[in-house]
């Protein structure tokens, strides 16, 4: 019990995320008879495979105090490359090429952000457009399609009731990135440049290395997400996948990252993604059109961000009034002392 209390006070955001995920799940489990079944569990994990990667990528970027807007374009480019070249070169080669391209793009972005000392949103808005152009170019402005459907069948084979090769791969990715962020020096550097950049730079951390690592991982995750979508559906569009940014941001913010950076973690990203997936999947049962899902996600993001901002403003005000109180108290004590000292002499 004591340990639980300690956990709650240490990680209020994570506990909030778990509670939110649990209540969303319970709500749909009660209202929809089909929701709490093995088949729906499998469907949720299949969605988790893609959205989880995007949520993970955005979580890392926001931990580093930046945001990667080009994530949808990067995913679309990877999807187009994989689907286009699978027939000629085989799926593995095409997949590796796409991963290499998207990771390199991410690393280059990170390098330029660190070298030019600009905010990531500035550069990634540009690359959003640029990568879209590259994807259109790679796809010849058509919707590219697979002819051989053995690979799509393979990556969505059911294993262990809930999982498929794709979702197992993504879970492995989560574990690796989580260990990397918690236990290696490079991971801690990412937290450092996000939470207190000036202090981190002053204490000798170079901005280049963590930025390149963060954006390379972000590019890798976006690419992998795009590949999974492309191979699973067998088609890819150069202008598609833009909805990933909103869903991924919602997942990251529910998972407890702070827009100021330096807070949050991989577990939060997983729980945030699961919450969004529960919501998505549950709304599908109600035959909700996709724009209504977007509306709910928008409201959810606004609520979460206002909650966070409100608590920050409240904290600051509290701290300031406490400081003023403190100053007042000391001043009155001082005044009393001075009066006491003056009395005998006067």
């Amino acid at each position: 019990m004591e340990r639980i209390k300690h956990f709650v006070t240490e990680n209020p955001d994570l506990v909030f995320a778990i509670l939110l995920a649990f209540s969303v799940f319970t709500f749909f489990a009660i209202t929809e008879p089909l929701f709490f079944t093995h088949r729906t569990g499998f469907a949720i994990m299949e969605r988790f495979a893609v959205l989880g990667l995007v949520g993970l990528a955005l979580t890392l970027c926001i931990i580093a105090g930046e945001i990667d807007l080009s994530i949808g374009s990067n995913a679309a480019l990877a999807a187009v490359i994989t689907v286009r070249f699978t027939d000629d070169w085989g799926a593995v080669n095409a997949l590796l090429l796409a991963l290499a391209v998207s990771t390199t793009i991410g690393a280059i972005q990170g390098y330029f952000i660190a070298y030019l000392r600009i905010r990531a949103i500035v550069l990634t808005v540009g690359t959003l457009m640029l990568l879209r152009g590259v994807a259109l170019f790679a796809a010849d402005e058509k919707t590219v399609m697979l002819t051989d459907f053995r690979i799509p069948d393979f990556i969505s084979t059911k294993m262990l009731v809930y999982f498929s090769p794709a979702s197992l791969l993504v879970i492995a990715m989560f574990i690796i990135v989580g260990l990397f962020m918690t236990y290696t020096r490079y991971g801690r550097e990412i937290y450092a440049i996000g939470g207190a950049r000036k202090e981190a730079l002053a204490s000798g951390i170079s901005l280049h290395r963590p930025m390149i690592i963060v954006f390379a991982i972000s590019g890798f995750c976006a690419g992998l997400g795009g590949i999974i979508i492309g191979l699973r559906s067998g088609t890819a569009q150069a202008l598609g996948l833009q909805y990933l940014l909103l869903a991924g941001t919602v997942a990251a913010f529910i998972g407890g990252v702070s827009i100021l950076g330096g807070k949050g973690g991989v577990i939060g990203a997983a729980i945030g993604t699961l919450t969004v997936n529960f919501l998505n999947t549950g709304l599908v049962f109600n035959v909700t059109p996709s724009f209504m899902v977007q509306l709910y996600l928008g409201i959810l993001l606004l609520v979460v961000i206002m909650f966070q901002t409100g608590s920050r403003v409240f904290d600051e005000r509290q701290r300031r009034s406490q400081l003023l109180n403190d100053v007042d108290r000391r001043r009155s004590i001082l005044a009393d002392k001075i009066a006491e000292l003056r009395r005998p002499s006067g």
Partner: protein
């Protein structure tokens, strides 16, 4: 003595001054770009004709007006709104729905309605659209002013507005009959053969530039953008400023929506999303124009004149590529390269002169 005059730079000619102020890399990049642009302009047939120049400015008008609105937000240090196209989508649905609404027909039931009846319909729809746009702008501005991150707030607001627009129109195309009161704005021309939308673009650009330069409000925008702490110390909080700037951006987006709806006599939430212009996405295009114009994204530096020129520049590059027979992929690629290029050049120019944050 000679050293002192050389240091002050009064006797340097133009080229020497440029070589003193900018690094060789920046000069080489800009020079290369200028050479490519001028070569393209002279070698492309029919590029430098009066008719084509008119086409370029007309193409630049719609995105340009939106970008001018967004420039206010950027100058006041609130980055940019990622919800520009969704505001426009909600506005266009509102406008078209009211233009076709039964209660909003002021003419006789039989026969062609008179001009004044058409204008009455238009005015009612226009006013309602502007009110909606003001509300959307004020909501976002208030959330940003309270301390929410502009990118995340507007990303959420974008989903919300798009959802409301789709829900209102049932995700269908809303159309209304010609003749209607918005034709003069969409396709008409009062002054010779210059389209009214071009005239509107020029008027809005001039008014915005004059507002920023010569009014108290304009100077306050620059102050809040350049130095938030100084602004707060002198009584100019970002709260009111963010609301005002977001309302300006929203109203500009709604105006563009009305003009576009006047051209096609219909509305759909996706008009500004994928099938519009060369870019495929109005929001990104608008942000691109603000950046290519060289406005500082951190705020406080730039002008709407730069934005207007950026709009015309991007439009002319696009036009040049169309005349040379490029497909949309190559054009999007070129616009993307131009944005990244201008970001890098402006960052290199300003490096050292501005703080990191």
């Amino acid at each position: 003595m000679t050293d002192a005059t050389a240091m002050s730079g009064d006797d340097l000619n133009f080229i020497q001054r440029i070589r003193r102020d900018y690094s060789p890399l920046v000069i080489a990049m800009v020079g290369l770009f200028l050479v490519v642009f001028l070569a393209g302009a002279t070698l492309t047939d029919d590029f430098l004709t009066w008719f084509n120049v008119k086409t370029i400015i007309r193409d630049a008008a719609l995105v340009g007006i939106m970008a001018i609105g967004l420039t206010f937000v950027t100058l006041s240090g609130n980055f940019f709104l990622l919800s520009m196209k969704e505001i426009a989508a909600l506005s266009i649905i509102c406008f078209a729905t009211l233009m076709g609404a039964d209660w909003n027909q002021w003419g006789p039931a039989e026969g062609d309605p008179t001009t004044s009846a058409l204008m009455m319909t238009f005015l009612v729809a226009f006013t309602a659209t502007m009110i909606i746009a003001t509300i959307t702008g004020a909501i976002q501005g208030a959330l940003i002013g309270l301390g929410g991150n502009p990118i995340v707030v507007t990303l959420g607001a974008a989903g919300l507005f798009f959802g409301i627009g789709s829900w209102w129109s049932d995700n269908l195309v809303v159309s209304y009959r010609r003749p209607h009161g918005a034709e003069w704005l969409g396709t008409g021309s009062f002054i010779g053969d210059i389209p009214n939308i071009t005239v509107a673009f020029i008027i809005i650009a001039v008014v915005a530039e004059l507002t920023l330069r010569y009014t108290t409000f304009g100077r306050q925008v620059y102050l809040v953008g350049a130095n938030r702490a100084a602004g707060r110390a002198t009584g100019h909080e970002n709260f009111g400023m963010a609301i005002k700037c977001c309302i300006i951006a929203s109203v500009c987006a709604a105006f563009v929506a009305v003009a576009f709806s006047g051209q096609v006599s219909s509305a759909h939430v996706n008009y500004f999303s994928s099938e519009f212009g060369s870019s495929g996405d109005m929001t990104i295009m608008v942000i691109a124009i603000v950046m290519v114009g060289g406005n500082s994204i951190m705020g406080g530096y730039g002008s709407t004149l730069r934005t207007s020129l950026g709009a015309i520049f991007i439009s002319s590059i696009d036009n040049m590529m169309v005349l040379n027979g490029f497909n949309s992929g190559a054009r999007v690629l070129a616009v993307g390269l131009m944005i990244v290029f201008s970001i890098i050049v402006f960052a290199l120019v300003r490096r050292g002169s501005r703080a990191v944050e």
